[in-house]
C-alpha cells in the first residue's frame, strides 16, 4: 500500500490556486478512494498489456517553473496556448467561453457538470486526477452557437515533472465546436495524467482532434468521457505519435436517440514505445450509430494495444455499431494486442467488428520497386496508403500535412 500512497504524493503537484470550494468534496472522496485503489498492474484485466512498473517507480518534480518552449505552428487561426498550465489568453465572449478550470466556481451554471462522469471509485487515474489536478481548461459553447475551429496547445516544459490536468467541455443544445487539443511535451521524463469530461447536448456537434506528442521517456494517461444526448454528433480522432507510454481511455456514453459517434485513432510506435487505446461506447437508447476505426504501425520493439468495447443495451434497438482495428508490424520485435469486443443485449441491431495485424504485402512492395520506386519510397507509399482512410477524413489541411510529415519523419528514423 505504501508504494501506491507514495506514487500519489510523488505525482501530485501542489494545488496552489486550484483549491476552490467547488472541488473540495470530490477531492476528498477521491482521496478516500485512493486509500483502497492500487496502481493498476497487469493482473487487472483492463491493464493486462500495459505495464506501469517503470512509471510507478519514477521520481517526479512537482515544482512550478516557467520555461520557454519551442513555437509550434497552429493548425488554425484561433489558438490558445497553455504553458505549464498557464493560459495565454482565454476567450470571454457572450456565446463562447474558454477559461482556466481554477475559475470554474465563477460559472455556477457549469459547476454541476464537473466530476459527473469520471469514476474515482473505480479507476485509479480518475481518482488521482480528481484529487490532485491543479490546471486545465473549461470550454462552454452557448445554445445554437457555432464556435467553429479552435486550437488549444498545451505545452509541458519541465523535465521529469508530473502533471495532473483537468478539462471540462460543455456544448449546449445545437452548439458546434471543432477542437484541436494538442499535448506537447518538450522535456523528457514527464508524466501527464489528463482527464476530460464532455457534455454534448441535444443536436450539438463536436469534433475533437487529440494530437499527442510526447518527448523521450515521457508517459501520458489521457482519459476522455463524453455524454451524448439526443441527435448529437461526436467525432474524436486521436493521433498518438510519440511517447514511452501512452494510454488512452475513451468512454462514450450515448444516452440519447439518433446520435452519431465516430472514434478514429492512429498509433505510430517506434523504438520501445507503448501505445494503448482502450475505448468504450455504451449505446443505451435506440436508433444510434457508432463507427470506430483504429490503425497502428509499429516499428522496432514498440507495442500496440487496442481494446474496444461496444455495449448495445436492451433498449438500444436499431443500433448500428462498427468497429475495426488494423495494425502493421514492421519488425519481428514489434507486438500488437488487439481485442475488439461487442456486448449486445438488443435483438434488432447491425453490429460488426474486425481486427487484422500483419506485415506489408511483399508482393506489392516488389511491384512498386519493379517500376523504379526505391524500397524506402515504396514503404512510405504503403504506409500512407494504409493510413489514408483516416487522414483523408481530416478536414484541416494543415493538420493533415503536419501528421503526414511527422509520419514520414518517424518512418525515416525507423527503417
Amino acid at each position: 500500500m505504501s508504494t501506491e500512497k507514495d506514487f500519489v504524493v510523488r505525482s501530485s503537484p501542489s494545488l496552489n490556486g486550484a483549491d476552490q470550494a467547488v472541488f473540495k468534496a470530490l477531492r476528498k472522496e477521491s482521496e478516500l478512494s485512493l486509500a483502497s485503489l492500487t496502481l493498476p498492474s497487469t493482473k487487472d484485466e483492463y491493464w493486462k498489456y500495459t505495464r506501469l512498473n517503470k512509471l510507478g517507480k519514477k521520481n517526479f518534480s512537482t515544482e512550478e517553473t516557467k520555461t520557454a518552449h519551442p513555437q509550434k505552428e497552429a493548425f488554425t487561426e484561433r489558438v490558445i496556448t497553455i504553458d505549464e498550465g498557464h493560459f495565454s489568453d482565454g476567450l470571454n465572449e457572450e456565446k463562447l467561453k474558454v477559461f482556466p478550470i481554477e475559475q470554474l466556481g465563477q460559472f455556477p451554471g457549469l459547476v454541476p457538470h464537473f466530476g459527473k462522469q469520471q469514476r474515482h471509485n473505480e479507476h485509479y487515474f480518475d481518482a488521482l486526477n480528481t484529487r490532485s489536478f491543479n490546471h486545465g481548461f473549461v470550454i462552454w459553447v452557448a445554445q445554437g452557437f457555432d464556435a467553429r475551429e479552435l486550437e488549444i496547445q498545451e505545452h509541458f516544459n519541465t523535465e521529469s515533472k508530473a502533471y495532473q490536468h483537468r478539462y471540462l467541455i460543455v456544448l449546449e443544445k445545437q452548439a458546434k465546436l471543432s477542437l484541436n487539443h494538442r499535448i506537447i511535451s518538450n522535456s523528457k521524463g514527464q508524466f501527464i495524467n489528463a482527464l476530460m469530461e464532455t457534455v454534448v447536448s441535444e443536436s450539438a456537434q463536436m469534433k475533437l482532434n487529440l494530437i499527442q506528442e510526447l518527448s523521450e521517456e515521457s508517459s501520458l494517461i489521457e482519459t476522455v468521457y463524453c455524454e451524448q444526448k439526443d441527435n448529437s454528433d461526436y467525432r474524436i480522432f486521436t493521433a498518438s505519435l510519440d511517447g514511452e507510454l501512452i494510454r488512452n481511455n475513451l468512454n462514450i456514453n450515448v444516452i440519447g436517440e439518433h446520435c452519431e459517434t465516430h472514434l478514429n485513432g492512429l498509433s505510430l510506435g517506434r523504438a520501445q514505445e507503448h501505445i494503448d487505446h482502450h475505448t468504450v461506447v455504451d449505446h443505451k437508447l435506440p436508433n444510434c450509430e457508432s463507427h470506430e476505426n483504429y490503425k497502428g504501425i509499429f516499428y522496432d520493439k514498440s507495442t500496440g494495444v487496442f481494446n474496444g468495447k461496444v455495449f448495445v443495451r436492451q433498449e438500444a434497438q436499431k443500433t448500428n455499431a462498427f468497429q475495426s482495428n488494423q495494425n502493421i508490424v514492421m519488425s519481428d520485435d514489434a507486438k500488437v494486442y488487439s481485442k475488439p469486443e461487442l456486448e449486445i443485449y438488443a435483438d434488432d441491431v447491425k453490429c460488426s467488428h474486425g481486427s487484422t495485424t500483419g506485415q506489408f504485402d511483399e508482393e506489392a512492395i516488389f511491384y512498386l520497386q519493379s517500376r523504379g520506386i526505391g524500397i524506402q519510397k515504396a514503404r512510405s507509399l504503403m504506409v500512407h496508403a494504409f493510413i489514408a482512410e483516416l487522414t483523408e477524413k481530416l478536414d484541416n489541411e494543415a493538420m493533415r500535412s503536419y501528421l503526414e510529415e511527422r509520419i514520414e519523419d518517424k518512418l525515416s528514423k525507423s527503417i
Binding site: Q369, R371, G372, K377, A388
Partner: protein, 251 residues
Amino acid sequence: MLEIKELKAKIEDKEILKGLNLKVNPGEVHAIMGPNGSGKSTLASVLAGREDYEVTGGAVDFDGKDLLDMSPEDRAREGLFLAFQYPVEIPGVSNINFLKTAINEIREYKGLEPMSAKDFLKLVKEKKALVELGAELTNRSVNEGFSGGEKKRNEIFQMAMLEPKLAILDENDSGLDIDALRIVANGVNKLRTKDNAVVVITHYQRLLDYIVPDFVHVLSGGKIITTGDKNLALELEDKGYDWIKEQEGVS
C-alpha cells in the same frame, strides 16, 4: 542489349534454370514458349530481381551493366520493365500517384528534374489512349477492383509511361478475350522502336499473331532447347511440345 549467359537459378533448393543463354538486340522481338514448369516465369522473375529466387550461376549483361548486381528498382531505372502475369492490387495508392512517383524516381536516378504536373498529365492522356484505358481507371487505386483485362491493359499503360529499353511480357495474354488481347498487342506494337526490344513469354501462339516475333525460343527443363522464327510457333501449336523435345533429344 541483353545478354544472358549460362544462367542458373533456384527457388528453395529446386533448380529451375539450368544454364540458359539468350541474346536480345535493340529493335528485336523475342518470344519464349515452353511447357508448364519449364522456367518461363522464373526467367522473368530473376531478370526483374524478385528476391525469392537465388541465382547460382551465369551472368546477365544489360547494356554493358551487370543486371544481377542491381536492386529491382535500379533495373527498372536502367530501362527494364516486367509486365506481371498477376498484377498486384495496392489499395490506397492511386494509379496516378504511383506512376508520378515512379517517373520521378527514374528521372532522379538519371539526374533529371521532376516532371512538371502539366507534362505529366499530358503524357497520361496520350498514353492511356494507346490501351483504351478510361479516366476512371487511371484515377483509382492501383489495380484495385480491375477486371483481368483491365489489369493487363494497365500493365501496358505503365510500360507506355515508363518507356523502357527492354520490356518482358510475362504471359500477358492469359485470361484475355480476343478484344482485350488485340488492345494489349496493339499497345505493345505502337511502343516498338528500333532502339527498344520486347521479350514475350507465352504459352500460346495466339498472341504472336498480333505481336510478330523475330525469334521464337523454346524453353524446356530450364534451358532453351531450340530457336526458330515465327513459323516455329505455328509448328508448336500444331504438334505440341513433345514433338520438339523428341527432336532435340530432351526427355
